[in-house]
Symmetry: C2
Subunit: 242 residues, 2 copies
Amino acid sequence: MAYQLYYWPGIQGRGEFVRLALEAAGASYVDVARGDEQNGQGVAALLEFMQKPGLAQPPFAPPFLVDGKVVVAQTAAILLYLGPRLGLVSRKETRRLWTHQLQLTIADVVAEVHDSHHPVATSLYYADQKPEAARRAKDFCQNRLPKYLAWFENVLLRNPKGSTHLVGRRLSYADLSLFQLVDGLLYAFPKNMRRALKKAPHVATLHDAVAQQKRIAPYLQSERRIAFNEDGIFRHYPELDT
Amino acid sequence: MAYQLYYWPGIQGRGEFVRLALEAAGASYVDVARGDEQNGQGVAALLEFMQKPGLAQPPFAPPFLVDGKVVVAQTAAILLYLGPRLGLVSRKETRRLWTHQLQLTIADVVAEVHDSHHPVATSLYYADQKPEAARRAKDFCQNRLPKYLAWFENVLLRNPKGSTHLVGRRLSYADLSLFQLVDGLLYAFPKNMRRALKKAPHVATLHDAVAQQKRIAPYLQSERRIAFNEDGIFRHYPELDT
């Protein structure tokens, strides 16, 4: 049976990390909230699922994945679950753990990127926190971004199986997620990111290689790939990319 | 061989979630950075380990755990690794995944608590971001804290095995982590947290029960439990707890 992915329509957001794994593996899935309400899909179906009073393991927030009786929320946990099923992680426990550790670090960066435009409150608009965002984005671009990129570059350089993948010699969900992180940062902070990538050439190469992967390349051209926009996590506000 | 835990001495921080699991299980461990430099321990040993050029899987940041040849960083990944080894998680995959999902949500709250006093930059002092912290902490206490607590209360209420544990009928590392989260919030935001806990009585009961657990109770009285302070994640600034 097809996997059911539940995530807000209209943005890539955290759901995109799951989509990329499903797409790269050629898995069959339904992107429920982007479907038609008349077919029992759409945002109504997402909200209804989350609010089921009988749900023993209620998701705190989208994205969540439904696979038969299994319901998993939290992006990294979804990928932990899907990884072995989609052939996107090693069979060895230590490598699986390392892949997951990389994913958790990517999740940390994603949260920091979100807060670069929303440092005060998710419940407020960007326009209501512009001075704070300017300070936070400056620190992110000057200190955090180079530090994270240097670490991922180092991980690639130290991979005993070669520097084209983060773990082992095959594509893992962590590679896909690093692609998405880099892609989002190139959209949000083009000036700072292009500058920073010069010091992380293997990260840049991995990004470009994933974009060319046999199933990812057509996906990125398809309508299933939502364009980056200013409702998502990666937002381009030129005043924050100085 | 004893586990080696590496974390900054002087604060509970994220290392405390790992310590609580090790302590509750009565596991043998060395808290390396709190040891004596003359014995090859202390912060110097932590930094030296992280900076080893030959380390194939370098931690991005403490805490990290060393178990023989295995090196694991990221608090949630450490607990994913330790859980089965310490008997602090179910043997069933779906329950393990659910426990991990709870842990990841606790990690999200912890990051928000940190940012309530550091909304602009980790690299700056609190004194350099007080107006921003005031706005962020207000939003955290008014919106985020009640939302998270309501979710954990709901998880306890819906546990088919009873509302004294988050997962199943036995203590898991997620229970220990929820204890720590509540304990930290009671320190940081006593007014807001006491008010919020009135609407989450099962969360309050779980907190009190974990504090009485046979190995946790003596641990909390021991010198191994570092006191909360204004260098850690949970900081008490009365002006933020209005």
